[in-house]
């Protein structure tokens, strides 16, 4: 048993790995945390984490470039129901389609599209960068991964595109930035955060710890 953080060439995974290690220590989760590009290790993991920074299409191409990874993800997350956590663009890839520069298909696990943030207030900066206050959706308030998290808790964001979720029951939290921005999504055995839990101090470590103990 192990946690597999998928390395597909999208950014630095050291801080994500360190945050999972810390949360594991704090919650008594003793299985190893692996950063891996090996689909076999992902297949054998108990928990799967997909990080991601940069552009949607680049991340999708990076994921596709690891032979067998998308197949293993579908097999383990959809067919086998293993706990899955997408972070930032890793969350966005759970959507149906990304419309950043070019149109790019997602994993299509949670219906919705990823589009540019267009705040109604022209003085708001893009990227949406910094600490924003979470507002939990009805589906988020009772979600085990958000246990101990309340409205107004802060999480760290850095992104210029965001996800419109088709089914409101699959959005767990939002933040306000000129408009409502999706902060967290989930259904069944999968969750995803637009924010960086590994950079969100106590709030982030709590969410990661909850995920490690989650039995969906």
């Amino acid at each position: 048993m192990s946690v597999a953080i998928i390395d597909y060439g999208s950014g630095n995974l050291r801080s994500a790995a360190k945050a999972f290690e810390r949360a594991a220590r704090e919650t008594g989760f003793s299985d190893p945390i692996l950063v891996t590009d090996d689909p076999e290790k992902v297949r054998n993991a108990s928990h799967i984490v997909l990080p991601g920074v940069g552009a949607y299409a680049d991340c999708r191409a990076g994921l596709d470039a690891v032979i067998g990874m998308v197949e293993v993800l579908n097999e383990q997350v959809i067919a086998r129901g293993k706990p899955f956590f997408g972070i930032c663009v890793g969350m966005q890839l759970m959507s149906t389609v990304g419309r950043e520069f070019v149109e790019s298909p997602g994993l299509d696990w949670i219906s919705g599209e990823v589009v540019a943030i267009e705040p109604n207030d022209p003085t708001l900066k893009i990227p949406h960068m910094g600490w924003n206050e979470l507002v939990l959706d009805p589906a988020g308030k009772s979600h085990p991964v958000l246990s101990g998290i309340s409205d107004g808790d802060h999480a760290y964001f850095v992104h210029s595109y965001h996800m419109h979720v088709t089914n409101p029951n699959e959005r767990l939290a939002s933040v306000s930035y000129g408009a409502e921005i999706t902060a967290m999504i989930g259904r069944d055995n999968m969750v995803g955060t637009q924010f960086h839990p590994e950079k969100s101090q106590k709030t982030g470590l709590t969410i990661i710890g909850n995920f490690l103990g989650w039995k969906p």
Binding site: G11, N12, R14, S15, K18, A19, R22, V53, G54, A55, T123, L124, K125, I126, P127, H128, M129, G130, W131, N132, E133, H154, Y156, F157, V158, H159, S160, V175, S176, Y177, H196, E198, K199, S200, Q201, G204, L205
Partner: protein, 253 residues
Amino acid sequence: MLKTRVIPCLDVKDGRVVKGVNFVDLVDAGDPVEQARIYDAEGADELCFLDITASSDNRDTIFDVVARTAEACFMPVTVGGGVRTLEDIRKLLLAGADKVSINTAAVKNPDFVREAARKFGSQCIVVSIDAKSVGPDKFEIFTHGGREPTGIDAVSFAKQMVEYGAGELLVTSMDRDGTQSGFNIPLTKTIADSVHVPVIASGGVGTLDHMVEGVRDAHASAVLAASIFHFGTYRIREVKDHMKAAGIPVREA
């Protein structure tokens, strides 16, 4: 609501904090990671390391500092100073930095910023702009710690850097740096109003009101300071309390 960030900066040389006050709760005041932990606990929103190591022999010391910080602090870390090549950026990101700040290399070769943003993503590319007022509403980039004029207009340069993919700009008022007389408001405001990316105001902070002015008057999305935190003049919590009292949204940790 998005909060205004307060960012302490640590000057690091050969892996050690250059100047610092000996807080009672520090085991080793010269260890940047110890300082980083204090700032983290006090509610800093991000952390910045400025590496001023001169000798190329000791250039690698910053990687160890960043790596140890990434194990202890779960907040965004920016590293600046001597970032000249894609390999420099790659090594810093692998060590655990979230963003790198590019200064001289961007002035010498603006295309470097374009290459860096393309390779690593705009979210981790901060361009650091050191500028002074050289006339009414005229601002020029200076290098070498503010000694060398470049003839480059700071506002046009800022726009160019954003066009090339900078995700954030760190604007340092070189005519104010170290004076504790406050930010150069016209400089910071002109740049902040000219670009769509966040601007961090830096240089010259001496009082709590200066932090407020950087946001309220200069339209910065974040304020950065080194000395007032190094020397313990103000703690991060005091800065945030003051900003909050002035009506600026801040994150209370």
